[in-house]
Symmetry: C2
C-alpha cells in the first residue's frame, strides 16, 4: 500500500525521472530498450501518476464536469442514459467525470472552473432563460449545453430536434387521414420551468397542423401518473365528437398511463383513436399496446455533446461542430395509429 512516484519508477528502471514522464506521454522519441525497462518498472510497482500533480504541472485535469438536475420533480429515469453515455465517452478518452447537481445553480459552475477542477463542462437540462448560461459563457473552460436557451451566448448546444419531432407526428396523422388532433401537454412544473424544447415542440406542432389543415386542441397541464392520465383522457373523450382523432403525447415518460386509461374506457388505440408518443424506443417497446413513437434518444444527444466537447479541448481534426446541434428523431410505426381509409 505504499504510494510510488515517477521517481521510484525512474530509479528502478535506471533512467531519469523525466524519461519516465516521456515514456508515459509519448511526447518524445524513446529507444525501444529504455521504453521496455520503464514499462517494466511501472508494471512492477503498479505505478500510477498522481492526478493533482499532473493537473498542476500539465495545466489539464483530464476531468469533465457534469452538471445534472437531480432535484425532486425532474424526470429521473430520463437522466440516466445521459449520464451513462457521458461517463462512457469520457472514459473512452481517458477522462474522469466530476458530478455537480443543478441545486447549486451557477455556484457549481464557478467552482468547477475557478478551482480548475475540470477542463470542460457539460451542462444538462438548460432552460430557455437559464441564469447559468451567461455565467457558463464567462468561464475559463468550454461549456457544452444540453438544451437550447433563448440566448446561447456563443456556447455550443446539443438537443433533440423537437420541432422535427412535432412535424413527424403531425405528418403521420395527416397521411393516415385523421380529422383532428389532441395534444396532451406537459406537467405544470415543466411548463413553469420555461424549457425551450416545450415551446419548440408546440410551435412546430401548430405550424405543421396549419400546413396540413388539421385542427387540434391542447390539454394542459397534464401531470404524470395514472390519476392525471385518467382525467386527461376523460377530457379528450368529451372533446371527441366524430371523425378520426389522433392523440399526441409529447411528455416522454407518460404513454402507458394514457394507454391504460383509454383501454379502461373501452377505447382501443389503433382502432377507435390514434396515439403517437414522443418517447424513447426502449420505452415504446414496453407499452401495451405497442405505441407508435417518435424517438427521443438521450444517448445520441450525450454522444454528440461529448464529441463537441472533446473537439473544443483538442480542435485538431476536421470542421468545427455545429453551434446548435439538433439530433433528428425517427418515427416508428407500431400498433396505435389507425391505417388510412381505403378508397
Amino acid at each position: 500500500m505504499p504510494k510510488f512516484t515517477s521517481k521510484d519508477v525512474a530509479r528502478l528502471a535506471g533512467v531519469s525521472q523525466s524519461t519516465v514522464s516521456y515514456v508515459m506521454s509519448g511526447k518524445r522519441p524513446i529507444s525501444e530498450q529504455t521504453r521496455q525497462k520503464v514499462l517494466a518498472a511501472i508494471e512492477g510497482l503498479t505505478y500510477e501518476p498522481n492526478a493533482g500533480a499532473r493537473a498542476l504541472a500539465g495545466k489539464r485535469t483530464s476531468v469533465v464536469g457534469l452538471v445534472i438536475p437531480l432535484h425532486a420533480g425532474v424526470d429521473a429515469v430520463g437522466q440516466l442514459p445521459f449520464i451513462h453515455t457521458i461517463a462512457i465517452s469520457a472514459r473512452a478518452r481517458d477522462h474522469e467525470v466530476l458530478l455537480v447537481t443543478s441545486d447549486e445553480g451557477s455556484a457549481g459552475l464557478r467552482r468547477l472552473a475557478g478551482r480548475s477542477l475540470c477542463d470542460a463542462i457539460v451542462l444538462m437540462d438548460v432552460e430557455a432563460r437559464d441564469e447559468r448560461v451567461p455565467v457558463a459563457a464567462s468561464l475559463s473552460v468550454p461549456v457544452v449545453l444540453i438544451g437550447v436557451p433563448d440566448d446561447p451566448a456563443g456556447l455550443y448546444c446539443v438537443d433533440l430536434d423537437f420541432a422535427e419531432a412535432a412535424r413527424l407526428a403531425v405528418s403521420e396523422l395527416a397521411a393516415t387521414q385523421h380529422d383532428r388532433m389532441v395534444l396532451l401537454g406537459y406537467p405544470a412544473e415543466i411548463i413553469s420551468r420555461d424549457l425551450n424544447y416545450v415551446r419548440r415542440f408546440l410551435d412546430a406542432f401548430a405550424a405543421a397542423a396549419a400546413d396540413h389543415q388539421l385542427p387540434f386542441d391542447v390539454i394542459e397541464p397534464v401531470e404524470l401518473g395514472r390519476a392525471a392520465a385518467n382525467e386527461a383522457v376523460d377530457r379528450v373523450l368529451r372533446l371527441c365528437g366524430d371523425g378520426r382523432l389522433g392523440l399526441v403525447i409529447p411528455n416522454s415518460p407518460a404513454p402507458q398511463p394514457v394507454l391504460h386509461a383509454l383501454e379502461a374506457r373501452g377505447v382501443i388505440a389503433g382502432r377507435d383513436v390514434s396515439v403517437i408518443a414522443l418517447t424513447p424506443d426502449a420505452a415504446a417497446e414496453e407499452t401495451e399496446p405497442l405505441v407508435t413513437n417518435v424517438s427521443l434518444e438521450a444517448r445520441d444527444v450525450s454522444r454528440r455533446a461529448m464529441e463537441t466537447l472533446f473537439w473544443l479541448l483538442d480542435p485538431a481534426p476536421g470542421p468545427p461542430p455545429p453551434a446548435i446541434d439538433l439530433v433528428t428523431p425517427r418515427l416508428t410505426r407500431r400498433a396505435t395509429v389507425m391505417a388510412a381509409r381505403r378508397g
Copy 2:
C-alpha cells in the same frame, strides 16, 4: 478571465502568501485586521484555490469517489436518490463527487485510489461475492460499501435491513389472520447477480413464516413489466385455493403492474387478497390502489454511508460507526391488506 493565485491575493492584501493560506484554512490565529484585508482581496479577485495544487500540497483531494451501477438492466430509478443524497452530503462537507461506473469493475477502483483522485470511495450495488470487495479492501483510501457482501473484508457496509423487512411483512399478514402467502420473487437477472439482499430477504421470510406457521409458495423468477406481472398473477390465482391469501412483492419497482393484473382479473386487493410491497413510500403513494408497503428508503442508506465515510476521513468525535449498518424499514398500512376477521 485571468486566473489568480494565492500569491496575487497576498500581494493585493499586502501580506505573505502563507497568511492567505492560513486565513482560508483557519489553522492558525490571524488578527482580525489582516483577516479582513485578505478576505477583501479574495473577494476582489474572486480568487479560488487551485484544486490540484491543494491536493498535491495538502495530501487530500476533498473528493469522494462514487461507483454506481449504470449498465442496462439495473433498476435505474432506484439509483438516483442514492446519488442525489450522496452529492448533497458531499457538498455539505465541501467535497466534490467523482463518478465512476460499475462497468469498469475493479479497474475503476484502482484508478481512483492509485491516482489519488479522491480521499474515500462509496461503492454501490455490492454483490454477495463481488470481485471488487477484496480490491477495495486493499486500497490506500477508505471504502464504504452499499450492500453487504458475504465477506466484507473489514470494510464498512450500509444497507437496508431486508431481513427485518421480511419479518415485518410476514408479521402483518399473520396478525391479520392470513392462511397462506405467495412471494413474487425477483427477475432472473437479479437472481443471477447473486445479490446478498435477495438471500437475506428470502431466508428471513422463510424463517418468519415458520415462526408464524404460515405456509407459502414462491413464484420465481418474475420479470419487470406488465407481461410478466400478468403471467405471475395467473400463476398465483391458480395456486389460490380457499383461505386468506397474502401476496408479498419484494422487488421494489414492481407493484403497479401486479396490482393492475389483479384488478384486470376482478380480484380486489384488500378485499379478496392482500398485497404488501417492498417499495419506497413515494412509490407506494403513487399506486392504485394504495399499496401497503415496507419502506425501502435509499436516501437513508446513502446518508448513513456518507456519515461513516466522513467519520473515517476524520475520526474525531464519538464512537465508530457500526461495521454493518442496517437501516430499519417501516411498514405503512394503506389499502391492500385485508382486515383481521372479527370474532
